[in-house]
């Protein structure tokens, strides 16, 4: 029973990755770029969900990790001429480092305090990107297109400006992070994370140190968020401080809530829905963020489980 369920879960996730692989050959170019963007940003939501959905910690400071990945990747390309691979690796490492440092300090706080503390640290980071504008070019940001040597695969040159390259880069990172999150949440560690979320005191007396598990969740979460920021930079060649602003901490919260907190596929679904809705709305009005506000309000008031959470509660009990 448990074994067949496990097979179904893995099959479902692989099928979705294959579906995304196939979609690029059938959708028109506009949607290909949209989907590539959605996959890159869904990685961010996946990272966020590891912390909120499994460890039960709500952060308002993930923009710091997302932007750390971006700046580490962008700045090393801009100033030191790093290649894409090295710059990406550094992006993930930088955000992992930030998450570790932040975790060691902030995990003393819990609940609402954790939320405010992460928001404050992230705001300080954002302000720092403005303050050091001689290096970061602040609000205006900088562009790395043309600086990045193309990738080579099988004797073929893969230029980052090519939409197909963007799409498949995003897909690879997305697939890896999705499977990582699935595997983590189904591992013994994932079980302990859920236990910490549900009842920290009891978990302690089952022989687990809750703090080290929360720290681990934060580091994984931050690193995945950084991977998202890093791949986004490689795909769209632009880095600016607006990606470190509080709006970019709220986005992954919104995507995760919409898709379904604590579900592995929720982040993708939430990101896709919201990105399309915001894209359509921003063509119609400059006040498109109204939708962000309204969606948050509607979700928290009437649908706190999100789309996948609702599907799981009503129809497909075995969804992870």
């Amino acid at each position: 029973m448990r074994r067949t369920r496990a097979r179904a879960v893995w099959a479902l996730h692989l099928a979705i990755i294959l579906l995304l692989l196939g979609l690029q050959f059938v959708v028109p170019p506009f949607h290909q770029v949209m989907l590539a963007r959605i996959m890159a940003l869904a990685v961010y939501a996946i990272g966020y969900n590891v912390l909120l959905g499994y460890a039960g910690l709500m952060s308002l400071g993930h923009a710091m990790f997302f932007a750390s990945g971006m700046y580490a990747t962008g700045l090393t390309i801009l100033y030191f001429g790093f290649g894409a691979g090295a710059a990406f690796g550094l992006g993930v490492l930088a955000s992992a480092g930030m998450a570790t440092a932040l975790g060691l300090v902030t995990l003393r706080a819990s609940g609402v305090s954790f939320l405010i503390v992460t928001m404050m640290f992230s705001q300080a980071f954002y302000l720092a990107t403005l303050y050091f504008n001689e290096i970061t070019m602040g609000d205006q940001g900088f562009i790395i297109s043309g600086l990045l040597p193309p990738l080579w695969a099988g004797g073929r040159e893969l230029a980052f400006s090519d939409p197909a390259v963007k799409y498949n880069l995003a897909l690879v990172v997305f697939a890896l992070c999705l499977l990582l999150s699935l595997w983590l949440t189904r591992s013994p560690i994932g079980r302990v994370l859920v236990a910490v979320r549900e009842n920290e005191e009891r978990t302690r007396l089952l022989g687990y140190n809750p703090l080290s598990y929360k720290l681990l969740a934060l580091i994984v979460s931050g690193s995945i968020a950084g991977a998202s920021g890093s791949i986004y930079t490689l795909m769209f060649s632009y880095v600016g401080s607006s990606f470190a602003s509080i709006l970019y901490s709220i986005y992954p919260l919104l995507w995760t809530l919409l898709g379904g907190t604590g579900t592995t596929l929720g982040p993708l679904l939430g990101t896709a829905l919201m990105t399309y809705v915001v894209d359509i709305a921003s063509g119609l009005t400059s006040s498109y963020l109204l939708l962000v506000g309204a969606t948050l309000l509607i979700l928290i008031m009437w649908f706190p489980a999100g789309v996948m959470g609702g599907i799981r509660a009503r129809w497909v009990r075995w969804l992870p």
Binding site: S187, V192, R202
Partner: protein
Amino acid sequence: MGEVAAVTRLLETRALSKTFDGLEAVRRVDFRLETGEIRAIIGPNGAGKTTLVSMISGRISPTSGRVLFKGKDVTGLRAWDRVALGIVYTFQVTSIFKNLTVYENVALAAQRRLMTGALSRLTRPQRTLAEHVQAALAQVGLPDAGDRHAGSLPYGHQKLLEVAMALALKPELLILDEPTQGLAPEEIAALSRLIRALSRGVTMLLIEHNMAVVLELATKVTVMDKGDILAEGTPSEVEAHPDVQKVYLGL
């Protein structure tokens, strides 16, 4: 209870004290527990029983004094490290993961024993784990409850689930805080049988208000009052003790 030479000391506290906001809940308690005992701690409310076992399990840290387990000083160890040594505590108010299935509840405990290296934290030893979980559930008489939500179990079964979780941790010392509280008479009888059966492999320390259960189960009884140990002995000795009768007159 005569073969003193054969028994070994499992647990010892030395001058263990706890003060809450200037109030002495436990006062310089020297407490000893031998391997294989079923020890009951009794006493009126506020006697310091839960505070004492909480310091033994590491839930709270003492104001002063030491805790020794198998001759080793564990005073500085946190609760989770004491669990790894074999000191397991079950809560007075059932504290299970109500939103998870019964299987997951016990698996959390069972996997703790299986997580020995870094690798075992990452992969799920499915089959071994399932065997351990099933064994613990069978031991407490809930072999078929695995897929149910823990919160949907009747209260008595939730208590049994607590015991199953404790067993899955493979304890050497099992602390049960008022295990029979809130149970129906037939459930109490079943739980007493279970505790007696388990005591062949595990030393038991229980806080209990139900004197019938204490008299039936305990090999030795410790009476606490106002943070001190008032008396200690076999159930019949303690029952006859004049101070104990005075304390318990109201009960």
